[in-house]
Symmetry: C2
Subunit: 207 residues, 2 copies
């Protein structure tokens, strides 16, 4: 743990490592002793950095939302075309779920049970903001299509989250499907479900 003089960076590193332990053992199944060992400290040393196990989970989830903001939302915010924006959002989200580096952090965002009270509400608030962002963007895409909506933006947003967030249950990067192919297929599947066609096919269907 040398070379990490910035407390914030230190905490993030601890979160990253702890997230891996939580991912593997589950929140309740992972002990602070295990996490401390993984981090390279004693338990008391770990407690210096995080107030409690609960607080550690909160920090990890908060960090996960930060990552989502920084690597997905920030990158699409200047895209004007709603379809392209949605497409890039999906690809960015998939990247988080399946890429090796911080996948545990993003997956742990689904841990709904253990965090309680105020901390839970903070994370839920951030999650809801993401869902609302998706809803609004989907509504724009539907409007852009010039066709009657086939389903509500809310339903579509949750379907999208199901498609993407379930990936960690079955997708293996070393499997037969590359990440780019997965991204493409998922985007297309989703757009067909949403609009009845994929935007590239739109012109063909109207002729």
């Amino acid at each position: 743990m040398s070379g990490l003089s910035d407390p914030k960076a230190r905490l993030r590193e601890i979160c990253r490592i702890a997230a891996r332990v939580f991912y593997e053992k589950g929140y309740d199944g992972a002990s602070m002793q295990e996490i401390a060992q993984a981090v390279g400290l004693t338990k008391a040393g770990l407690y210096h950095h995080v107030g409690s196990k609960d607080n550690l989970l909160f920090e990890i989830m908060n960090y996960g939302m930060d990552i989502l903001d920084e690597t997905v939302l920030a990158r699409v915010q200047n895209i004007q075309d709603p379809r392209e924006k949605l497409r890039q959002t999906i690809l960015g989200h998939i990247d988080l779920i399946v890429r090796a580096r911080d996948l545990e952090i993003t997956v742990i965002l689904h841990e709904n049970r253990s965090l309680q009270g105020e901390l839970r509400e903070k994370i839920n608030c951030r999650k809801r903001a993401y869902v609302n962002y998706l809803k609004d963007l989907i509504a724009e895409v539907q409007k852009q299509s010039g066709r009657p909506a086939l389903l509500s933006p809310t339903l579509a947003a949750f379907y999208l989250l199901g498609l993407v967030n379930w990936l960690y249950q079955w997708y293996r990067p070393e499997g037969t499907i590359g990440q780019a192919e997965l991204g493409r297929a998922t985007v297309e599947f989703f757009f067909r479900g949403l609009l009845g066609y994929t935007p590239e096919e739109g012109t063909r269907a109207s002729s």
Copy 2:
């Protein structure tokens, strides 16, 4: 716990109740003491019926797969039309996930971490059988459409599982969407994603 003289039925009732506790607290977060209390026994009494916590989880998951077999697969097996068979499968699966009675049992099937060794492999084997059933059925539906497949049956099967299995994260029966509407919307969304159209729309798209 009177009136349950059949040991098998007894075990099932214990599974049902335990599943609720596990659903609420998580496998690791739920203690055998809590489960015993919920069942109406002491901990030692509970251990008479289940060998261990692990074994209880296995029994619950096995029971979950039984329920899936009995209430979904058994009911569609005489349907000849692949599309209709797939549709009914989806609706049946959704019913398990969102209906009140045994939703905890079916949701707990996603608990991948805690079960180990031989028991885990038994459940995984049953799960794989279901995935393979979906794949094969999807492949039939694609073939039936007479169009080139837009994505592999494997991908489509996992997308379907994502859509359905994620429902428990967001769907609330008391919300604005009734179960029938949810089922219809999900089936349609999936068929559009799979085929590029919903089978009822097929004739329109070709004209």
